[in-house]
Symmetry: C2
Subunit: 101 residues, 2 copies
DNA sequence: TTTCTTATGTAGGATATCCTATAGGTGAGA
DNA sequence: TCTCACCTATAGGATATCCTACATAAGAAA
């Protein structure tokens, strides 16, 4: 994923954004990448998105079920509570930036 | 700064948050660290905040003026336009997370 | 069955964030 | 002047993100 923001690449948001997207709708990897592209302007590469999904799966936050050649990921119970926690932290940290529209 | 969020450490937001804070009010390093602590719950250490300030200065986005023993940082002209750009990117990327309150 | 396309996966490395630990500088007050 | 508190600063390294490049798998279509 290219550096879209000159000042800061806003790393460390990918896993959070994936979790949040999955809390709205179960999706497969490519679909997630496209949703992220809509928001960030750059599409995470395969080598970015799949390792991230693997990590989330290893942590028990998401699980995948095969559907033909694609794998649809959804939040686990732990994933659902984690996304709540993480979102609360995110909002607390950055809310005033967004509401200053 | 400790990992406050289990899922993701939300790295890469520090420089942006500094720029944004300075767009509201000129501040010195310690003050910035305290403002960030209010939002994130953890205070960036000296070894985090000063290298970040140095980098922003090297990039011509902020400048410091000595005032006794403290150095008050403020945005340069470039810094002001950069914070606008970066904020637009941030809002585009994450707005729907916050408005889903 | 062969080819094309799409989705998934991994190895290896570049880069950036952020930390611990340490040290220097400056003003305040005894 | 001497100490104390606070702010600033840097070296060095741990860690995590994200990439490029390559490889695998599986359905679609000729």
């Amino acid at each position: 994923m290219k550096k879209t923001c000159g000042t800061c690449d806003m790393r460390g948001m990918l896993s959070f954004q994936i979790l949040w997207l999955l809390s709205k709708k179960s999706m497969h990897g490519e679909e997630l990448a496209e949703e992220i592209e809509k928001r960030r302007g750059a599409k995470p590469k395969a080598g970015t998105i799949y390792p991230a999904l693997k990590e989330l799966k290893n942590n028990g936050l998401i699980e995948g079920r095969k559907d033909g050649k694609i794998i649809i990921y959804e939040l686990t119970k732990d994933g659902k509570s984690e996304v709540k926690r993480a979102k609360a932290y995110f909002v607390r940290s950055f809310k005033d930036i967004i509401i200053s529209e």
